[in-house]
Symmetry: C2
Subunit: 268 residues, 2 copies
DNA sequence: TAGCGGTTGCGCGCTTTGCGCACAAGTCGC
DNA sequence: GCGACTTGTGCGCAAAGCGCGCAACCGCTA
């Protein structure tokens, strides 16, 4: 192991990390997995893998049918504890519903985690597009209005470091895959106060996002409205949606400041 | 420990179970938790708790602000893996959307896990009611149309054992809290082919559910439409919603039979 | 039927991991 | 300043978890 330095720390519980690795192996494949397949995916020995699988099954997170394992619905408990205790659903969702209703478009709230943004609340309206993207989904930050809005208002040094680490890939012909251009884009977003994306993540999908700040003015999340270019031209997004977005931003920030501990959930 | 018999099995990885226990401790409380608080909630020693917390933080599942820990959004990965690999979203969700749209009411798909049903897909329509209930939420099986529909079509002996173990509590004045009456209700559901609930879980909420079968005719889930008594009288639910429900049931069962491995995700 | 590459389950001895005690070092309130 | 409370951490020790390696069980092919 190359991160021996960490794995051998006195406080590090290797078995927990390994067990979670086994659990996450199931997110990589659709099919039911055998012990050896999981062992290969995780890089653990077959014997160790088996112990973890048996334990996870005993705990109810996995089910098995003749030597093949699948995730059970109990696995939802682990992830959804985040949502159920965060108050996001109760607090943010209704506000998002209102925004979504007034604009007749999909709206989402997301936070930045590493190179990706994670959706934490979402109200789909137009069902045709982006059905796959739900709460908990991750998308590359650099190709999303949400990611750009967060990055633009992150502290300069931290943002630079993050952008530096990005591996910009052209997901569509319109993706901004050049670091210099991307930095320029981020500057523009900061100047405007909002971010627009047109076909950068997926052809035809356009969105406009604004940052959400904590009471200390540091950015913690982003809010966007997402639509299809065939319905709203990208250049019209600002005129049509910026005002409702800014109103909703204010609503959410007010709601967050009333529950200070919730801010922790986004950025600690 | 009273289940020493299991914990001392050779295959049982105690550290993984303990670590997950620590992670789940955060679903019990809204606030940020200190090491000692988690230790108390889990029953582990403070030293052990600390090792797990540090490990989970290192892995990104927890964040911490001066000695207090909260779940991070990465925790969603664990639960999201279940949804993203199950194909439920791609397969069931669109069908549910259609049902929900034709009925103008909330529809949900849930599975039985122990004494509770877990929502695995859901399309809320009327936003006022039951906003808290989302994917991954658990509700007592005996007070829900979904639970009754599943139980009524579970194999007799298994269903009896489950009902036996239920601790029937009167959640509302209308909850069926008597075991004999509940068994009678289940027989009625089996005879009718659908289950109706009126104010049994929450006053004012009414719903009608049908079971979803695997290709071998065993029940694996239930589908319901949920509304408010002030909008639709409980006795009208059958006439209004049973036909669309049965049509959707057929659609879902057809879709499931086309992807046999998906059935495993519900019941193994 | 016998042989063979591919699985899988599992016993066993060894080592290391993770255990909890117990001490040190802060933090608050009187 | 001195208790009563937290929290971080070093240490020695038991056992928990490790992976090797064997045996059993497939489904093929001959």
């Amino acid at each position: 192991m190359d991160d021996e330095a960490i794995e051998s720390e006195a406080w590090y519980v290797n078995s927990l990390a390994r067990g979670l690795k086994v659990l996450l192996a199931f997110s990589q494949r659709q099919e039911a997995l055998s012990t050896s397949e999981v062992a290969e995916l995780t890089g653990l020995s077959r014997a160790a893998t088996r112990r973890f699988l048996m334990t996870l099954r005993y705990l109810g997170y996995l089910r098995s049918v003749d030597n093949r394992f699948v995730l059970s619905a109990k696995a939802l408990d682990l992830g959804y504890a985040y949502l159920s205790t965060s108050g996001i659903v109760e607090l943010v969702q209704p506000i998002l519903e209102t925004l979504s209703a007034t604009c007749s478009e999909t709206s989402s709230l997301a936070i930045l985690e590493g190179e990706e943004v994670i959706y934490v609340a979402r109200t789909p309206t137009r069902r045709m597009i982006a059905l796959r993207v739900g709460i908990g989904s991750r998308i590359p930050a650099y190709a999303s209005s949400l990611g750009k809005a967060i990055l633009a208002f992150t502290e300069q040094a931290e943002a630079d470091a993050l952008i530096e680490s990005f591996e910009l890939k052209a997901l569509t012909p319109k993706t901004i895959a050049d670091p210099a251009l991307f930095r320029e884009e981020i500057r523009t977003v900061r100047a405007n106060g909002y971010a627009v994306t047109a076909s950068e993540l997926e052809v035809g999908v356009a969105s406009i996002a604004v940052p959400i700040m904590a009471s200390d003015r540091s950015v913690i999340a982003a809010l966007n409205i997402s639509t299809h270019e065939s319905i709203h031209a990208p250049q019209d997004l600002r005129d049509k949606f910026l005002e409702p977005l800014l109103n909703t931003k204010a609503d959410i920030e007010a709601a967050l400041s009333a529950v200070p501990h919730l801010t922790l959930k986004f950025r600690g």
